[in-house]
Symmetry: C2
Subunit: 428 residues, 2 copies
């Protein structure tokens, strides 16, 4: 085998240089055994023991290949394959290993393991790069145990403050800080020290578009703007039998109006998305009129201005419900806002060029989901590569991506990483 020190990598031309589909797939399946749940799903909630076990397995693989690993105080992991040019800024690839409560085997994991597969492929072929290549595992991308989502990349890029994040607690009152300390991460580097020149993230689409259009590669031009809200409807807990309907302060009828308000927002535009993922009645007893309802609201749109209009309409609608139910206290609070994101144009071009040369049907598209790449895009040139997932289903045990699609995404990632790690231009 030839030892090549690539001066400038000709994207996709080295058809002989491809990732090892079998190795990548078997690693995906090995990782899926950690926190496995019925129906081929995974449950590795951020910073839980299962999440830690997944990270330990990944780190063991990296160290067995001789790669240096490090971590920062918010638990982000960095795996480095050094470059030949001392001062070159690293090309980083990454994603996350934490999952939804009923998550799948590919969301996040594919991006991390494909990144590692890129390092191993270069290692196998003895290919040197000018710039170092880092594989990054970002902490708590899902945001379901600890809000907000994309926590690790948010702290790394300065979108979130470390002290605020450390003080965040889960439903049981366990703080991010205590979990990080328990797993030894509090001894890590100050977030942001690990510098990044460019960032690439491979991910399953989590939507049906690629499959519908029979494409294998999605070149992601940017991401939707996202807003999260906490809804609270405060009434009064009382017995389900005696008190007259008129005298009750029952929040449930008002919930129905809020639900209608939220879903009516999606009539404003075809690209609008609305989700009420969590609804809880308190105390939640069959013969007790609930004293309170709490719920989550998730609004998305590719255009910031349109999402702002949806936001205004939501708050207005909540005020109207509150006015209609004078015995109740209706409040909607925006807890998180991620503006629309535009990815690097040249990096998108390189992704599509690679797909074309390798013969993968490709298209340009917008990301419906939020990703760590959104945070990175605010500080360095960034892009994402999507591959299809069956029936567009994600955040579900049934989530599935075909082995050949995972490999196709990893090959395009390989080409793009090599292109930038071998060229001398520094993005800054």
């Amino acid at each position: 085998m030839q030892i090549s020190s690539c001066v400038s990598h000709d994207v996709g031309r080295e058809s002989s240089l491809s990732v090892d589909l079998q190795r990548l797939w078997s690693r995906l399946m090995d990782m899926a055994e950690i926190g496995e749940i019925p129906g081929n799903g995974c449950r590795r909630l951020a910073l839980s023991q299962d999440d830690l076990d997944g990270r330990e397995l990944f780190l063991a693989w990296c160290e067995n290949r001789g790669f240096r690993t490090s971590f920062d105080k918010v638990g982000n992991l960095f795996v480095r394959r050094p470059g030949t040019q001392a001062d070159a800024m690293p090309v980083a690839v990454g994603s996350h290993l934490d999952t939804q409560p009923n998550g799948g085997r590919f969301d996040g994991v594919l991006g991390v393991l494909a990144g590692f597969e890129v390092l191993e492929t270069l290692e196998d072929r003895g290919i040197e790069t000018k710039a170092p290549i880092d594989v990054v595992v970002w902490t708590n991308e899902e945001g379901t145990r600890f809000a907000p989502a994309m926590m690790g990349s948010g702290v790394h890029t300065g979108a979130l403050s470390l002290p605020t994040v450390l003080a965040t607690s889960d439903a049981e009152g366990v703080t991010v800080s205590s979990e990080l300390a328990k797993h030894g991460y509090s001894q890590g580097l100050p977030p942001g020290c690990q510098r990044i020149g460019r960032y690439l993230e491979l991910h399953i689409e989590q939507g049906p578009i690629l499959e519908e259009k029979d494409k294998v590669i999605g070149s992601v031009s940017g991401g939707q703007a996202i807003r999260w809200y906490d809804l609270s409807i405060l009434g009064e807990e009382t017995h389900a039998g005696p008190s007259s309907m008129a005298s009750r302060r029952d929040p449930v009828p008002a919930l129905s109006r809020v639900i209608d308000t939220v879903f009516n927002l999606t009539r404003m535009d075809d690209a609008a998305r609305a989700t009420i993922g969590r609804i809880q009645t308190h105390p939640g007893s069959v013969n007790v009129v609930p004293g309170q309802i709490s719920a989550s609201i998730d609004l998305r749109h590719p255009d910031d201005a349109m999402l702002s209009r949806m936001h205004d309409r939501l708050l207005q609608g909540a005020r109207e419900v509150g006015a209609a139910f004078t015995l109740l206290d209706v409040s909607v609070e925006c807890t998180w806002h991620s503006p629309a994101v535009a990815f690097d144009v040249d990096m998108g071009r390189v992704v599509r060029l690679s797909a074309e040369r390798r013969g993968y049907p490709a298209m340009e598209m917008v990301s419906g989901a939020g990703h760590d790449a959104f945070n990175l895009a605010r500080i360095v040139p960034t892009t994402m590569i999507f591959v299809p997932c069956r029936d567009g289903i994600s955040h579900n045990e049934r989530e599935y991506a075909a082995p050949e699609h995972c490999a196709a995404g990893a090959n395009v990632l390989l080409d793009a990483v090599l292109h930038y790690a071998c060229s001398t231009d520094d993005p800054r």
Copy 2:
């Protein structure tokens, strides 16, 4: 002090014979310390350790007074003060010590401790009765940890089968059977062996009527018919961002229609009651379209025929929602039905006579809530005595009954118990 063996007790005439308000109140407050929650509430879920601790405290009080205690295989407790007439059927008074998740200090507890106060008052005064007097603590009246409600009295009266009840499990999968075995109740008497001649139950009203009408005693003529339902709306879990609104199988918009259907049922009649106490989205994550919603529905009406019409209308409404949302599976299943109950007419007369002679403003009323007395009424002459609770609030930490109202109820209970325990007529 005179030892009297009452031949026939002249209801309410022995004004000198009254319960000890201070003792009754201090016992209520002592019991409230077990499973105490913020805001003066109590949380003693059926057959939990807190429930067991409450029962142990009560049994210790009874045994210290020298009363014989026994229990059956479903955990019902019986405390006996013997009578002089060997074959006389016991007059039983009772209620429950388990509470709602956020329960108060009086619901159920007042009936049990007032019954014990009656025994102690007779003991203090050395008054013998022909019939034995039993104080009964029924297992799992609330039905929030293990459904259905009124479980112990249901098994005692044959309304529920012991094997079915034993196999029932809570949300964590813990069975009634295992909890009973853990606390030693599986060694108890076969349910129903402890025979009862008549049954009286003192309880807070759990509604606003007595307070509104400025009455101290409610003579309960019967109880509402009650039906419980499990609602399930099955959709498909997917990511909150990418998939188009049209392609989603989101159960939440359908929930809004079901809520409207349920509350519209109360327009059929002023006496109709509808409650949706529990709503849960699964998996309940902010950025996941729920795959399923489960909820509870509680319908009540004093008239069986009208409740049946509400039942039919509910099922019809659910079918219509299912037809309108073809991508979802909407199901409503009736899990429990307690027909309307008529209490014993003569016992109601005795209750009102006692109140009148003691100068307590009284009225006849229907019970909005379900009670163990509903089960007993199906096998023996039964009645209930209500006292006011502040603002009609119950199943809530703020639940409160004034000491003088608790004592008034206990005095009427004392009169009625004495009347039947001293008379020789056997109800059967």
